[in-house]
Amino acid sequence: MDQQADEARWVTQALAGDQSAFTRLVERYTGVVYNQAYRMLHDAQEAEDAVQEIFLKAYTRLDTFDASRRFVNWLLTISSNHCIDRLRRRRHTWVTLDDVAFWLPSSQAGPEHRALQRERREIVQHALQQLPEQYRLVMILRYWHDLAYNEIVEITGLTESTVKTRLHRGRKMLAEALGSDGETLWNAETMTS
């Protein structure tokens, strides 16, 4: 039986009160949702909170799931909306707790180690944060989740033309955000290819 049929069956079982069926869906997609939330929010703790809230929303709205759709796309729709809501709410936050609680011991690695890790792994992640959230979303769905245009259309509710426009601008913005290095590479690639 294929994955989509499996998931449709699990949804039906979960709707009938079988918690273990929904557990299978959570186990399968925690990583996908976490990655989406982390790329959008750029904060591991906030992404963890978001993942819990997203699955809670998915659970209480499970009856709205259309079995003809892929479950992951439906979940990413909830996740995308939730992350955008969080980003909008974040604009109203004057100061984060991390800003004021700098004296507290951290469970993460030391600052030098963190800086090195960040430099190595997160240059693109930082650049991604400079994109407006609507552009960031389509870029993440396209290049990190490797989704086709029609799937991005389905998740975001945008038209294909808008998705393409946002991707086009998003690509340019990302290359610019990566600095002169990224911009030069981008220009060379698009000119020569």
């Binding site: 186990e27 963890e48 699955f55 393409k164 590479l185 690639e189």
Partner: protein
């Protein structure tokens, strides 16, 4: 295919740009997948309600409705007390009761009791000390909230890694 504006690429241009950004990302070692914390699935499952989805959704809707009703009632009671108290302070205490059957009727006596109970509240609101008291209360409430958030964020049970 012809393009209609600068942001609309032809299929070939679209593919070229797509491949170019993928190559650019690859140079930075992206896209990569971020591993979620190992206990995240367990935490997600622990937060799910015990009820089936439909019942959980219904319970959530009811809870929200109850909260809205409760807040509405609380605000209404405060507003009524404020109006009655202000009337009692600025006009007279028996005025509202007179409108509702006089001070000898049961309803009138209840309203009179409310006016008399609300008058000290209105006096407190207009007292000069409140201007000093209010920021103090807000400061204490903010400090308590901040302390609680910090306690929640710091896991004292787990040893801190070096």
């Amino acid at each position: 295919m012809e393009r209609r504006n600068d942001d609309e690429l032809t299929a070939i241009e679209e593919q070229t740009a797509d491949e170019a950004i993928r190559r650019l990302l690859a140079r930075y070692g992206q896209p990569t997948s971020v591993a979620p914390p190992p206990d995240l699935t367990a935490r997600v499952l622990a937060r799910l309600p015990d009820k089936p989805p439909a019942a959980a959704a219904l319970a959530e809707r009811q809870r929200r409705r109850h909260v809205r009703v409760l807040v509405g009632m609380l605000l209404s009671v405060l507003l009524v007390l404020l109006i009655l108290g202000s009337w009692g302070v600025l006009v007279n205490s028996s005025g509202p009761a007179e409108l509702l059957g006089g001070v000898t009727s049961a309803v009138g006596q209840l309203v009179l009791v409310l006016v008399l109970a609300a008058k000290p509240l209105v006096h407190v609101l207009f007292a000069p000390g409140v201007t000093l008291l209010l920021p103090g209360v807000l400061l204490v409430a903010s400090a308590v909230w901040l302390w609680w958030q910090l306690v929640q964020q710091t896991s004292l049970a787990q040893p801190v890694e070096a």
